[in-house]
Amino acid sequence: MSVRDLKGGKRYWVLSACLVWLVFTLFPLYWVAITSLKSPVDVVGGPTYIPFVDFQPTLKAWKDLFSGARGGFFSTFWASTIVGLSASVIATLVGSMAAYALVRFPFKVRLASGIIFFIVAMGGYLLGSEVFGVNPAMASIVAFCVALALSIFLNRFALPGAVLGNDDIIFWFVSQRLFPPIVVAFALFLLYTEMGKLGFKMTDTYFGLTLAYVAFSLPIVVWLMRDFIAILPVDVEEAALVENVPSWRIFFGIVLPMARPGLIATFVITLAFVWNEFLFALFLTNSKWQTLPILVAGQNSQRGDEWWAISAAALVAIIPMVIIAGLLGRLMRSGLTIGAVK
């Protein structure tokens, strides 16, 4: 027992406060669970609390949901699952590679070449679409490629101004989270629409939504994986280097397996983010690839006070993540998330 532990009567005050918070935390979840089992009469007649005691539970809402009588629930669930899983897998993999590179190899980026990228991309786009009257999507693609090529090329030369190192690149990744997502979501919606006019359908496609979610998750993946990789012992890698094992095999064969607990935690956190995400899905999908949060939000206006149906729909979005929470809880107890917040 440590000196910081609570002693005497204080323990019971703290315990009762925690119990109050527990009721506050769990009641809404309990409420949505029992409401999905109520019949219309039990909802409209005022609040009822305990199944079999003050109302007779029924599976009607669930049967309606699974029979598809209420619209395409399965296709939405499928869309959410496949987009969530693939975006999390790709983001975790790509982000871990970047994190590994940033932990183990030195990088130098000149601030000036970053600014050149910004100016050339924006100027090129405005010039292309306003002065030469090129289609906006085409103008964007050309401006982007020219700006990127130019700034990479110019980065070789001794440009004046600050030189950014690995920590700055990590900060650049993380700072993406600071930006209000509406800026990017709205611009992506416009860009996707313009791409559609060129013949590449991006809105309401698997590819478009997944790509947006990968980009949206990368900052947090790089941030988390940086810590998980930094605490790995380097001697195994050094031994492999002496044996002349190529770097890519060191990464996939040694580093990734060693970082597995961190990878799992990162994957789970990313999946929860993507699964619950609302804004990008609202802008970038409209029917086929609509995700659960959009469908659930729509219940409100479509169903009015049909709470039994609304609750069942909400639970479909909630339950998978509660299972995930169980997994995360187990990881937490082994103290893994501590490294994540250092």
Partner: protein
């Protein structure tokens, strides 16, 4: 250990490219659009107008109201989240009976989709059929306008935010509290320092840098709020609970006022940056004091 190997570019570039294409370029594109007059309905040819959209925004009453509503929701709810979260994290780290059970169950809300939370909140807050109405009726207040009167609606949104995001504060602070050195407390115990003195003399100052970071992260995230408001009040009554993201969505997606919306989202970015800088400036002397 750092080493040189050209393969490093192969590791870093996929992530950089994706972020450049999907986050930085849209940002640039949006900034370019914000200098134009661009409307889809009624369709109007794009025209370069310079800072006109920004000038319009500065005198747009609705914009300023939305900024103040969003700030109010963000700062009030995050402050409460922080106070409650700190207290709970402290009791968990001090091994309140059943701490392991609490630790897992307290985390649940942050994993629930905000739209689902909002739907459940609508049911609980229903002024005639909800369980909360039954509780308040018991105390003699029935049919309170939880979602239909400005003050109540703002309060309800804040409570829902607290419900959903206090767990994250608990999770982060708990990790920090667990890593505090034990011997300092043992020394304090020998000096007969009371629990209260130990908190203000040791725990709080040691946790200050981390607390500042957690508070900051939560405020930035809170400013982005849309889903909860979208479902619970739709910004109403009137526009009194409308947040920045919701306003941008209405302008962009309902009115298709593209140039204006782009300018609006950039002003939003500016608001967040200004708040961040002011926050850091206020905090800096305090952080240095405890170094």
């Amino acid at each position: 250990m750092t080493r040189e190997d050209p393969v490093k570019h192969f590791f870093l570039w996929p992530a950089v490219l994706i972020v450049l294409v999907m986050a930085i370029f849209p940002l640039i594109y949006s900034l370019a659009n914000s200098f134009m007059s661009l409307r889809l309905i009624p369709p109007r040819p794009a025209r370069f107008v310079g800072l006109e959209n920004y000038a319009d925004l500065m005198v747009d009453d609705r914009f300023w109201q939305v900024v103040s509503t969003t700030s109010f929701i963000a700062f009030t709810s995050v402050t409460l989240q922080f106070v409650i979260g700190f207290a709970i994290a402290l009791s968990l780290v001090k091994r309140v009976p059943g701490a392991d059970f609490f630790r897992v169950s307290f985390l649940l809300p942050m994993l629930v989709a905000p739209v689902a939370v909002a739907l459940v909140a609508r049911q609980i807050l229903n002024p005639t059929m909800g369980p909360l109405n039954q509780l308040t009726s018991f105390f003699g207040f029935s049919n309170l306008p939880f979602l239909t009167e400005t003050k109540w609606a703002l309060g309800s949104l804040i409570v829902v935010e607290i419900w959903q995001w206090t767990p994250l504060v608990i999770l982060l602070l708990l990790a920090g509290l667990q890593s505090l050195p034990e011997d300092v407390y043992e020394a304090a115990e020998l000096e007969n320092a009371s629990g209260w003195q130990q908190f203000w003399g040791i725990t709080f100052p040691l946790m200050l840098p981390m607390s500042a970071a957690v508070y900051f992260i939560r405020v930035v995230e809170s400013f982005k709020i849309i889903d909860t408001v979208f479902v619970m009040t739709g910004g109403g009554p009137g526009i009194s609970t409308e947040t920045l993201t919701l306003y941008a969505y209405q302008e962009g997606f309902k009115k298709f006022n593209l140039g204006y919306t782009s300018a609006l989202s950039f002003m939003f970015l500016a608001v967040v940056l200004i708040i961040s800088l002011v926050y850091l400036a206020i905090l800096k002397p305090h952080l240095e004091k405890y170094k």
